[in-house]
Symmetry: T
Subunit: 70 residues, 12 copies
């Protein structure tokens, strides 16, 4: 079995967890079989002293299917 | 004074904070005097494009009592 | 343009996100134009097996104005 | 010249080297001109006190051809 | 919003900056909306005691459009 | 669920994989439910220009049962 | 003797070196005795597939004079 | 042979070396055959601008005997 | 509560501990409530094969009072 | 006692262990008393989707004898 | 084949690239067959708010010939 | 100007500082112009629960003279 990892950044105004979920949900539209997510980095955009949105970079892994776009 | 550190991974379907608390609560059943927790790593198990549960690895520190199991 | 980065630690009993917001809000009292926050470290103080408060160290960046306190 | 790097995880019951080779062989089905592999991480799945299979995460590099899927 | 990051290595005989630009220009042929580049690693190929070409590995980020090749 | 991680170093005259297996087998005598092993560090003792034995430091994870020795 | 370190990010459309110099020149307006600069991170803002400007984060060190703004 | 590593933090008002020795001496009460210590982190508690005590986190290694508490 | 961290380098001809203390003592002249010091880096200036002075970079943390110089 | 460390890269078509041994054997021709080897990095050259040879960078340590070539 | 790596720091008043080239050119006087250079660290000496010279630490690799000075 | 860095490990029964000095003094027998030492790693050999000797790995830098042994 071979798995591939890719890195995405999810953006959410609500929470760190939401930013992860948004990136995962988008990935799942075209990728089957994502099994694992790793949080690589947590940051945020700031405006007027508040967090405008959270930006969480994740790495997801999934089994390589018939195509291996590179 | 001597302190010991151990690493645990808490697992929670709700949030990163909950995963930390679950691991801490379990540790406190048999360990007295935990004073500090450090988040070492944040990951998750994924199913159907959603986060099935958060997995947060923590390191906790506590004063060594009369026993030092190793 | 020149930006400066400083490190703050926010403390909150509620959540990791809150600890970040508390540090940001305090910084914004005297600093204009904070645009970016990066989470450097997540820890917590523990009491009786529960998280007493979250301690989140952040680095914030902002454009250097007329003063550059160092 | 421009090269692209991607990360794959090879899985093998035999050895660390085999896990690398399996991932490389799969990648070579659709990617021409892989010249370099770097071992990023070595782990394993365990069952009954034995290593069920080795999981080796690698980064491979190759010259970008006419397509740059991203 | 969801962004994707990919890693490329640009190669230039002139300078570190040129190596970055060459990789970026190639990526922009097929990717819209690249907004950020991060230099991950700087190396070079050497011949006769001189730098034959600079090899700079970069990570670029861009908003995920309608396709998410993986 | 809560898991614990511990670090062991396996020593083998044969191979890196053997050093991991020796440490795992020893751990499995008293620990149930080890599911994951991560290779942290690879070194060796040397004698007469040959590798006397491989020393591989691993981190293993397992579900916390009724006891949490610390 | 006591020195202080601070982190600045210089921004330049021309080169990595220029971004460092711009940050240094700004710092020198109010700080005496800067002796050392360390490049911590190199990034860039991108537009239309080109580097709009380089962003170089540096750490500078200088002897603490009579004031220690913190 | 299998070795185990554990992490302790020694605390001493005198010196970094003393903090290491205090942690080692405590460990040796119940652990036989410690052969190696590695300094992982050096910190201190501060009061009135002086170092109240040094806190040095160490990792010690020792051969696993008949018991492997985990 | 919000804390700030700053980095200082203490210089002493005597010992690593002294270099830390010198930096701390200087900081305490103008900063109240320093509670924690972390050793980030240990180096030295060398002359005639001897250590001329130790240079220890530390990070200190303290509660933000009424002013937040940045 | 003073030891010196140097870095070598061993190259072998067979295995990671062989690459280490080849570098060690070469070093032992002119260096006495090598006692320890540490694996710093594992990579490979690739051709036609297979590993042409393993390249393992190691650091070896040995007691400084009468000469200290530098 | 066995390669050796050594670390040099090149110093140039002009640019980062020049500092690398100066160190490489010096090494090539006595070392044959340098094929690869890796930039490990970029720093500078500062005077009057300008960069007096760039200091770039590099690691170079080359095939071990008949001598292996250590 | 070109500088070279080498790594040595000093061994002393007394203190961390002594271990550095012992390595430096040995190096200065054959190397002129050492100007800088950086502590890379601190460890120790242990016997009977005490520190038998400190082992401190350092990197020293010096201007390359007429010879560049490699």
């Amino acid at each position: 079995m071979v798995e591939k990892s890719i890195e995405l950044t999810g953006v959410s105004a609500n929470s760190i967890e939401d930013a992860v979920k948004i990136a995962l949900a988008r990935a799942a539209v075209t990728i089957d079989g994502i099994r694992h997510v790793h949080v690589e980095d947590i940051a945020g955009a700031v405006d007027s002293g508040g967090v405008l949105h959270w930006r969480v970079r994740i790495r997801i892994s999934f089994a390589v299917q018939d195509r291996l776009h590179e």
